[in-house]
């Protein structure tokens, strides 16, 4: 195995690890907020159902956290193992947020342990609720810090390059790079959104399976409301991200939109197929790309013709962009219909087909997260540090990456099977009806 295949296998292994990790990480960022809200609603309204909801979510959450922690440890170390030259260069500039991420993680880990083992321990339930605040904050802040690192890779700044050496390093300028606000906001909003739809899917699934308990109805309404709020937020921030790309990373936007020629009044291409340089079966929305890029239907949008061939990312990212946007908008309307329908008493929102759509919404939301990350990351190729270091110059020279790829693939398969088995067993063996009866007997 030569150096070239080392690069290829390193990319594959990093992609595999991250794709697997973000499923658990996204849930890890969003679910603590949901647990906190449910427990808060329960305490405020004196409603035992919401408190049980928080409790059951927490139990499932620990399993996802465990897998998130171990795969997060893997990617943390793989950065240095697979991309040693990148870490050596970037470490000089971006070590601060990486370091702060571990503190956020530490903070979260400590309080999650305390929260888990102090149910019913305090006389005042609000005290127990307060323990969840650092968990939710820690989870969100580790997402913020790690996204800052990724934003830096897209828009490196905060240093000067003199004779191949990095000088005049300013860690704060590196952290607050132009890509950072939209990236961080989009990651947070979509993580909350995805977690809400995953939890909604569970509630809808129980209702479909014949449980008519009011507990599941409350869970569904709460999560769909939160899903609606965060999908609106995600869409708005997504629009800002488009404007960021137009200004700072036009090659990524142009590749994602198949925008070949620089032009004014640019139209947006949705769907379609690219064959031999020809776009077929697409839907063209006139002026939409100019609006997305500059908020002005007549504005000029830079096309791929402005870039050297070796600097253009792969064009298949257009499909990923379509998947992400379609799922995002679809979930927005699904939750909007549900919330308005429940409020106005429309009957179809309780129909089987509508609930099946909600069940489908959970995995689709996760798929949108994957597609969005693949688009963002592949759209940065051929750079690992845009404009500074190419991916092939960053990878390890070790010749064992292919074997490690197989080992880690086996590991993730085991973790996936294990976590799914454990999660389904946990809830199948202890349905909410039984737990409510048990607790009812216990407490009053």
């Amino acid at each position: 195995m030569g150096a070239e295949s080392s690069v290829w296998f390193s990319r594959l292994l990093t992609e595999l690890t991250l794709s697997f990790h973000i499923i658990y990480a996204t849930i890890g960022v969003g679910v603590p907020l949901m647990i906190m809200l449910a427990q808060w609603v329960g305490i405020r309204n004196g409603d035992e159902h919401y408190i049980l909801l928080a409790r059951r979510w927490t139990r499932g959450f620990v399993i996802t956290v465990a897998v998130g922690v171990v795969t997060g440890t893997a990617i943390g170390l793989q950065l240095s193992l697979l991309w040693p030259n990148f870490m050596e260069l970037a470490g000089n500039v971006i070590a601060l947020p990486l370091f702060m991420e571990t503190f956020a993680f530490f903070f979260e880990a400590i309080f999650l342990g305390i929260y888990m083992y102090t149910w019913d321990r305090f006389k005042n339930p609000k005290k127990h609720l307060l323990l969840l605040v650092p968990v939710a904050i820690g989870a969100s802040f580790s997402a913020i810090f790690i996204t800052i690192v990724n934003a830096f890779m897209n828009a490196p700044q905060g240093f000067d390059v003199v004779d191949g050496q990095l000088v005049n390093v300013n860690p704060l300028v590196a952290m607050f790079n132009p890509a950072m606000p939209t990236k961080v906001a989009h990651v947070l909003a979509t993580a909350y959104m995805t977690s809400a739809f995953v939890l909604a899917a569970i509630a809808a699934y129980r209702l479909l399976k014949g449980s008519h308990h009011v507990y599941h109805k409350k869970a569904l309404l709460l999560t769909m409301k939160l899903g609606l709020i965060f999908s609106i937020a995600s869409a708005i921030i997504g629009d800002f991200s488009g404007k960021y790309l137009a200004q700072y990373q036009p090659e990524k936007l142009a590749a994602a939109e198949w925008h070949f020629e620089t032009e004014k009044n640019a139209s947006l291409i949705m769907y379609g197929v690219l064959a031999d340089g020809e776009v077929k079966y697409e839907i063209r929305i006139p002026y939409a790309l100019s609006i997305l890029a500059h908020n002005n239907p007549k504005a000029e949008v830079i096309g791929l013709d402005q870039f050297a061939k070796e600097d253009i990312p792969p064009l298949y990212i257009h499909y990923l962009f379509d998947i992400m946007v379609t799922i995002g908008v679809g979930l927005l309307f699904l939750s909007l219909l549900f919330v308005i329908g429940t409020w106005r008493g429309w009957r179809f929102v309780a129909a089987g087909w509508f609930r099946r759509l909600i069940v489908l919404g959970g995995p689709l939301a996760i798929f949108a997260i994957e597609a969005g990350w693949w688009m963002a990351e592949v759209g940065r190729q051929p750079w690992i540090l845009r404009g500074i270091m190419r991916t092939e110059d960053a990878a390890t020279t070790s010749t064992h990456v292919d074997t490690m790829l197989l080992l880690f693939a086996a590991l993730y398969l085991i973790l996936a099977i294990g976590s799914i088995t454990v999660l389904t067993r946990m809830f199948r063996h202890n349905p909410v009806e039984r737990e409510l009866a048990d607790r009812g007997g216990e407490h009053r």
């Binding site: 399993i63 870490m87 260069l89 571990t102 860690p171 074997t403």
Partner: protein, 341 residues
Amino acid sequence: MTLEVIGISVLWVFLFGYIMVASIDFGAGFFNAYSTLTGRAHVLAKVIQRYLSPVWEVTNVFLVFFFVGIVGFFPKVASYYGTVLLVPASLALILLAIRGSYYAFVTYGGLRGKRYTLLYGLSGLLIPASLSIVLTISEGGFVSRQNGALVLDYAALFTSPLTWSIVVLSLTAVLYISAVFLTWYAREARDSRAEALLRRYALLWAGPAILTAAGIMVELRAHNPGHYARMLEVWWLFALSLLLFGRSVYLIWKKRQYGTAFLLLAGQFFLAFFGYGLSHYPYLLYPYLTIYDSFTSETMGIALIIAFIAGLCLLIPSLYLLFRLFLFDPDYLQGKRDNHA
């Protein structure tokens, strides 16, 4: 004190923290497996579970903190160790991942099985062995440059007596540290059967732990005479460490003050670990890399130290709370409260 020295001291302290908490964790897994084999699982399981459940995640963070910190303070470490350690570190990662998730699956998910308990116990011993390889490599002699790329000589590494001495040391130390801590914990939990069994383990492993530690000195004398000479310069640190060791074994033997015995043990390992690190100074990877030629820019160094101090202001009170609730709360320890979600 220069920024480099502050940086490496901070990391050394965190590495020490990881070694202590991880040893307790790994050793607990092994004792649990061993007692399952000998049909005494019921004696230990409760005590071990009660301690590990709220803290297993924290243990992992110590490790993450160390490797993120070392690449942050000393970015060149990534390019030297990153290339060389791909295989051993990946194996350690896979073991850690299986172990960590398996623990959560069992504790919270009710996935049980004797076979898994045994695997879990064994993996806990393989992890320190695979991680301790780093210490061997840092002594030099196993890494060479070929066509501009760093290559690890596996044959030399696996045939070197130094490697195996360090592996054996890591194993005996893990079992000794863990047994002493759990003896103390079992007494606090008023679980006299677990206490008696763990005390036996503690006494059993005390001898091998100290013998292998001394063995390392002998190996180093042949492998890296410079390092050995500098170790002799700080001989008093090791002598002090030995004294603490003697005192803590005495206390355990006499069944007195297990808390103090564990603190003495912590001091013993801290002094030995500090002496080892001090004599290794200034090399990170002998003879290629010193802490001076790999240190990050001054601004980043200062920023990291500020972040570190701010982080500690959050961490120390939180860790204190964690300990107060689960290590020093009699009701929790004695299992009178099970407030698990």
